[in-house]
Assembly symmetry: C2
Homo-oligomer: 306 residues x 2
């Protein structure tokens, strides 16, 4: 039994009001993998990097127990590179550079050792590659979670609709939910999206938390109020990794557990934004995660004797 | 012992994507009074209307047990009138008309029968009139809650800072908290605002819920996800009325009760936006409020065996 995560593995260069980085390690699979590995010990990545991707960077992932058999290292080619600048409100950003490099013709390899996959996270990437990965698993996983973004709605609409038919959970942000459904009301958007395939929908609202829809129920999770958000890059991927990592750990897919999974994802994402890139995410331990979960409980607990 | 509420009593003309109203009854004291009266039976209003304000409109408030001895009816003058148009996202609006009328020289009357005031809501109004009302009470109330808006920050900054020194709880929206503190981060804004006088701060975030700060703690309350928001007018006033109404009912000012008060305020506000003006707010009963509170509990409850 394993949790397989596919997504980008990238070099990012990030500017926020707090500073600027050179090329640092990023990418959906990196963030999601690190987050999931704190919760589940059979995490396996599918991805691709270039020859310029330092083996020490892969060692960071290996040191967390993450299996990289499905990560191709392409000789003579360069790693996917993204550069972006966040505005003061941290909710909007400009993409400065997108060099697809090895991603341009990425053909995902799913090693035999990954065929025990029960939990699959199709991290943010072209829907066609997400679908190919799913199809290369001989047995349909118990749970398929898909994360995507507005870019694929703009450029690969039909492919996205196709892969959505085969997933159990979709995670998108509020603007993306509105775009996907063509509805401003998130409640109405959720109703429409749940007819496209997913049984559950998570709408990520950044500093405003997240909403979970499914089984005719709604759950509202807070975000941890933080004095400073240093860098939001990867927070959504981290959320998705924490979400599916928790479900892989507990193994039962009830709404009750989905709610907890949203809280675990939110807690891990709250760490992610405290430093640049995946820096904070690399240095966690179970005690710091437990403490953060306790804060989430404190933050929302009330008791009305009604 | 009573709960005294001062605020505008108005005619509003509202345009939203769902429709358009003629002059309907609105105003901070109206919304807050109706909300509070469902929770506490000694609600007393201070306000002013013109001769054009139908007595049937006052009867609606009286029928809820609200004392109007402090509401002046000015012969030959007209009621405060506001007209506004909401944009599609319902988070921004244009003011089309503001006719101050009787509000221009409003001198609040605090009748002797109001001197038993233990709970005082200084609803949205000029800070000078809020301060005058407070000063006309012979004994300082057990709890003073102040609601204000960006307009007073722009036009009556010093008066606002003065009255803030004498209040226990401030309720503002997120943009207003940022403006008042000069800080983008709501956590940092709250730290600064709590040094201006209030012991507690509630930041209302509309569809994203509310945050309560105080006693070194933070509480995050959700908003009820609604398929449609017909008219947000008065939601903030309704919140404030529900908030202080609950505290007047329970009588003990702990952080635990403040949290519940935020939930009661949010629940009542969630009704307010379901119809135009105060229409929905007039027709509630304890069963519908209890059911709404149950939804809030369901919406946020999770249980991590951590």
């Amino acid at each position: 039994m394993s949790l397989v995560i596919i997504g980008t593995i990238a070099y990012d260069a990030i500017e926020t009001p707090f500073g600027k980085t050179d090329k640092i390690v990023g990418g959906a699979a990196t963030f999601a993998g690190l987050a999931a590995a704190y919760l589940y010990n059979q995490v396996k990545l599918v991805g691709v990097v270039g020859e310029d991707f330092g083996d020490d960077n892969l060692d960071v992932l290996r040191s967390k127990g993450i299996n990289l058999d499905g990560v191709q290292v392409r000789k003579g080619e360069k790693t996917f590179f993204w550069a972006g600048r966040y505005h003061n409100d941290m909710n909007s950003r400009d993409t400065l550079v997108t060099d697809l490099n090895v991603l341009a013709d990425f053909d995902p390899i799913v090693p035999d050792s990954y065929q025990d996959c029960q939990y699959l996270l199709l991290g943010n990437l072209t829907p066609q590659v997400q679908l190919t990965t799913l199809n290369r698993l001989q047995r349909k996983p118990k749970l398929v979670v898909l994360d995507t973004m507005n870019f694929w709605m703009d450029t690969a609409w039909e492919d996205l609709l196709t892969v959505l038919k085969s997933v159990d959970v979709l995670t998108v942000n509020d603007a993306e939910a509105r775009q996907l459904a063509g509805e401003y009301s998130l409640v109405k958007a959720a109703e429409k999206i749940l007819k496209l395939g997913p049984k559950y929908l998570v709408i990520k609202k950044g500093e405003h938390g997240a909403l979970l829809f499914g089984d005719g129920q709604i759950f509202s999770a807070p975000a941890l109020p933080l004095a400073e958000v240093y860098d939001p890059t990867g927070a959504g991927d981290t959320f998705a990794g924490g979400f599916i990592g928790y479900l892989a750990k507990v193994g039962t897919l009830t709404f009750h557990n989905m709610k907890n999974a949203v809280i675990f994802g939110s807690a891990l994402a709250s760490f992610c934004v405290e430093k640049f890139g995946a820096e904070r995410l690399r240095e966690l331990d179970s005690a710091s995660i437990s403490e953060r979960l306790r804060l989430f409980t404190e933050l929302t607990k009330f008791d009305i004797a009604n």
